[in-house]
Chain length 432, copies 2
C-alpha cells in the first residue's frame, strides 16, 4: 500500500463530548491513522453551534471552526456527523453524499427514523455510510452483525443498549434505591440527562433496536415499528421480588426473527442471574446475539461516553477513508428479505405476575384456574406471608411462554377475582 496518496479531507460536524474526542484522536494518532488508512487524514473543518463559545478541546485552530455544517459537509472526502437529532444532521449528511463524501455518524435517532432515505442517497452517490457508534458505543457490534455473521442466520438479539437505565436499575438492585433516587444519582454522575425521558422511557433503546433488527434480519425496521415500554413503572418492590427468585431486572432491546416477520421490542424484563447479561453492571452495555450456527455470542463494553464513542467513530473513519484511498465501498443496505414488522402481541414471553391475595384456602386454586382458562400455562407459584397486613399474602406466578396478547387478558381476569386484593406487578421474563 502506497503512503503517497493525497490526504483524505475530514470534516467533523458537532464538537461536544464525542466530537471533541474524535478531533483529539485524529490529531493525536495522526501517524498511526496514516499507516492504517494509507493516506494522511486532513481535518478541514469542525462545525459548531456558536463559534464564539469556548471549546472543550485545547489547541484546535480557530480557523477550522464554522457554524455552517451543511457548507462544511460539501468540502470533505469524509464527513463525521456528531450533531445528533434530525436537523440539521440530515441535511448535512445528504449534502455530503451529494458532493461525493462518505459519512460516519453516531446518530441513532436519525438512522432509526430516516435510515432508508440515507442509505438510498449513499448508494446513489456511490459512497459509504457507517454508523458503528450508534449502537453500543465503543462495542463493535454492527460490523460483526453486517459482516462477521454474514454467513449465518441471526435468530434473536437481546441487548442492554442504554447505559443510563442499566446504571439506574443496577443502583436499585445494589442499594435498594427507588427509581427517582437512582435517576437523581445517575444525573449527578453525568450518566443521565437533566431530562432523562429519552433514556428512562426507552426511546433511545428503541432506536437502537430498530438499527439492530434492520441489520440482523436484512429488512427495514424503523423506531416506529418497535414496541416500547420504559423503566418508569419499575419499583423497588419489583427489584426485590426479582432478586428473591434469582433474577435481575434489565431494560432489554429484543429483536426476533419469526417465520412470518420480525418482532422488535424494548421493555424491562427479569433476567436469570446465570445469564451473561445479568452481570452487566453500571453503565456498561452488552449485546447478546443468537445465531443458528454460531450459537450464543455476547459483545460487552462501554456504551457511551466521549472517548469510547470516539473509538467507534474513528474506527469507521479509518474504514471509509481506506475505501476512499482504494476506490472501493463497504457493504450497503441489505434489505433483500423485506420482512414485515409484527406487533408485540405476536411475541411469546414468560410473565411474572405478583399478586396480593387474601390469606385463605383455595386462593391458589382460584388463581391457577383463571390463568389456565386464558390458555396460559404456569411454571411456578410461590406464596409468602407478605407485608400487607393481616389476612393478606403475596402470591407470585411465573408462566411458561405464552402469547403477549394473552397477558392483558390474563391479568384482567386475575384482577377480577374476589380473592385478589391487588396486582402488584407484571414483568416479562427473558433470557431463559
Amino acid at each position: 500500500m502506497s503512503l503517497n496518496h493525497r490526504p483524505i479531507d475530514v470534516a467533523v460536524l458537532g464538537c461536544g463530548t464525542v466530537g471533541s474526542e474524535v478531533v483529539r484522536l485524529v490529531q493525536a494518532s495522526a501517524a498511526d491513522l496514516r499507516s492504517r488508512v494509507g493516506a494522511p487524514l486532513a481535518l478541514v473543518g469542525v462545525a459548531v453551534k456558536d463559534v464564539t463559545a469556548p471549546l472543550a478541546l485545547a489547541g484546535l485552530d480557530p480557523a477550522l471552526l464554522t457554524e455552517d455544517a451543511v457548507g462544511l459537509a460539501r468540502r470533505a472526502d469524509v464527513v463525521v456527523e456528531l450533531i445528533g437529532g434530525i436537523e440539521p444532521a440530515r441535511s448535512a449528511i445528504l449534502a455530503a453524499f451529494e458532493s461525493g463524501a462518505s459519512v460516519v455518524t453516531a446518530n441513532k435517532a436519525l438512522l432509526a427514523s430516516h435510515g432508508p432515505e440515507l442509505y438510498g442517497a449513499a448508494e446513489r452517490a456511490g459512497v459509504d455510510l457507517y454508523f458503528e457508534a450508534s449502537v453500543g458505543g465503543a462495542i463493535p457490534i454492527l460490523r460483526p452483525i453486517r459482516e462477521s455473521l454474514a454467513g449465518d442466520t441471526i435468530t434473536r438479539i437481546l441487548g442492554i443498549v442504554n447505559g443510563t437505565t442499566n446504571y439506574v436499575l443496577d443502583r436499585m438492585t445494589g442499594e435498594g434505591l427507588e427509581l427517582d433516587d437512582a435517576v437523581r444519582q445517575a444525573q449527578e454522575l453525568g450518566y443521565a440527562e437533566a431530562d432523562p425521558t429519552a433514556d428512562v422511557e426507552g426511546f433511545d433503546a428503541a432506536s437502537k433496536a430498530a438499527i439492530l433488527a434492520s441489520l440482523a434480519f436484512h429488512t427495514r425496521i424503523s423506531a416506529d415499528d418497535v414496541y416500547r415500554e420504559g423503566i418508569s413503572g419499575v419499583s423497588r418492590a419489583d427489584v426485590a421480588a426479582a432478586s428473591a427468585t434469582g433474577h435481575v431486572i434489565k431494560l432489554l432491546a429484543i429483536v426476533e426473527r419469526r417465520a412470518d416477520g420480525v418482532i422488535a421490542r424494548v421493555h424491562p424484563a427479569l433476567v436469570p442471574l446465570e445469564h451473561p447479561l445479568a452481570s452487566v453492571r453500571g453503565a456498561f452495555n452488552a449485546i447478546y446475539v443468537e445465531a443458528e450456527a454460531a450459537g450464543e455470542l455476547m459483545f460487552y463494553g462501554r456504551g457511551a461516553g466521549g472517548r469510547p464513542t470516539a473509538s467507534a467513530v474513528v474506527g469507521d473513519l479509518v474504514t471509509v477513508a481506506r475505501h476512499k484511498v482504494s476506490a472501493t465501498l463497504g457493504p450497503g443496505e441489505s434489505t433483500y428479505l423485506s420482512l414485515p414488522a409484527l406487533p408485540v402481541t405476536a411475541a411469546l414471553t414468560r410473565f411474572q405476575i405478583r399478586l396480593v391475595v387474601k390469606d385463605q384456602p383455595g386462593v391458589l386454586a382460584a388463581v391457577s384456574r383463571v390463568i389456565a382458562d386464558e390458555g396460559v400455562s404456569i411454571e411456578a407459584v410461590r406464596q409468602t406471608p407478605g407485608s400487607h397486613g393481616a389476612g393478606l399474602a403475596d402470591l407470585t406466578v411465573v408462566t411458561h411462554r405464552a402469547a403477549e396478547g394473552a397477558l392483558a387478558k390474563t391479568v384482567a381476569a386475575v384482577a377480577g377475582l374476589d380473592v385478589v386484593a391487588e396486582v402488584a406487578g407484571v414483568l416479562r421474563v427473558e433470557g431463559d
Copy 2:
C-alpha cells in the same frame, strides 16, 4: 448491486467437523448467501484424504470429491482451507494465491508459524486472506480488532481462547476434580482430543496469542515468540486455594503492548471472581480487550465445534466473495510498527505463592523480609492452620505487580528459608 454476476467458484479443502458444516451451510443458505454476496456461490470441489471413506455429510455429490487439495485450490475463486496443520495446507493456500484465488482458513498453527509468508503471497497476488475462525471459533474478534478498533490503540488483550482447558479448569473448580479426571471427562464429551497435549500444554492458545498480538499491535509475532506454560501443573489444591481468595484459575493468552515492544504469553492465572472473564464457563471462549479510547471490551461465544466455527468461516467467505464481485480487497497485513517481541521476564505480574511453613513465631517476618529483599512488594498475606500435620501451617502471599524475572529468584529465596517446609504452588494473578 446486480445479482447477475457470474457464480463465485468455491473450493473446500478438508471435510471433517468444520468442513462438512461449511459445505452444509453453503448449500442450505444458498439463496441468502447469493443476496449477501451479490452472486451465487458455486461449490466446485471438496478435498478429502480418502475419497472412498464415508462422509459425515449427506447428499454431497461424490463427483465433487478429490484427494488433490493443491489441484483443487487452483480451480476456484475462493479456497476455504480446513485441513489444518502445516502441509499440505500451506502448499494448497500458496497454490490458490498463485492462481488468483482468495483464501479463507481456520488454520491457527499455520498462521502463527507462516503468517508473513502467506500474507506476502496474498499481497503479491492481489487477493484476500481471511481467518476469523482461527481465534475464538464463532466469536467475531479478528475483524473487530483489524477494522472496528482501527481508530484506537489496543494496549492489552486477555483471552480465554482454548475451550478444552477452560472446560477442564471449570470442572476442577465446580466439582473438585483432579486435572486427569477432568481431562478424561472432557475426552468423553468430545471436548478434548485423545492426545490432549496441544490444548493442555498451551500450544493451541500460543498460536492464537501470536495471531491476536500481530493484529492488535500491527507487528509480526509468531508462536515461537509466545511464552507458553500449560495447565498440567495446576492441581485441585491450587483451584481450592484460588477459590478461598475469591479467584478462579483460567488459562489465559495475554498480549501486551509495552513502550519497547510486545509481550505475548500463555499461562494459567488466578482471575478475580468480579472480572468478566471469571464467569466464562465450560468450553466457551472470551476475549477481553483493553484499548485507550474504547476502554474494556469483551467478546464471548463458542470457541470450537463444527457449526460455530463454520459460522465464522462462511462469514469470511461472504466477505471475500463479495470482494471478488466488486473487484476490491480487504485490509492486508499491517506491520508498520515492527515491534520487537519481548521475553516474558519483561512482564509485570502479581504472584500468589502458597507455602507450607513451620507454625512458629517469626515466620511471617522472615518470609516477608526475604521477599522484600528481592524488591517484590507484598499486597496480602494469609496464614491458616493448614492440613499438613502438627507444627505446620499454610501461608499464602500475594504480591503487588513485580517483574516476572524477580519471581524465580523470590521463590528460590523463600524456599531456602529454614521455616519454609514446602513451596506448594506459585501462580500469577491477572485481571485486577
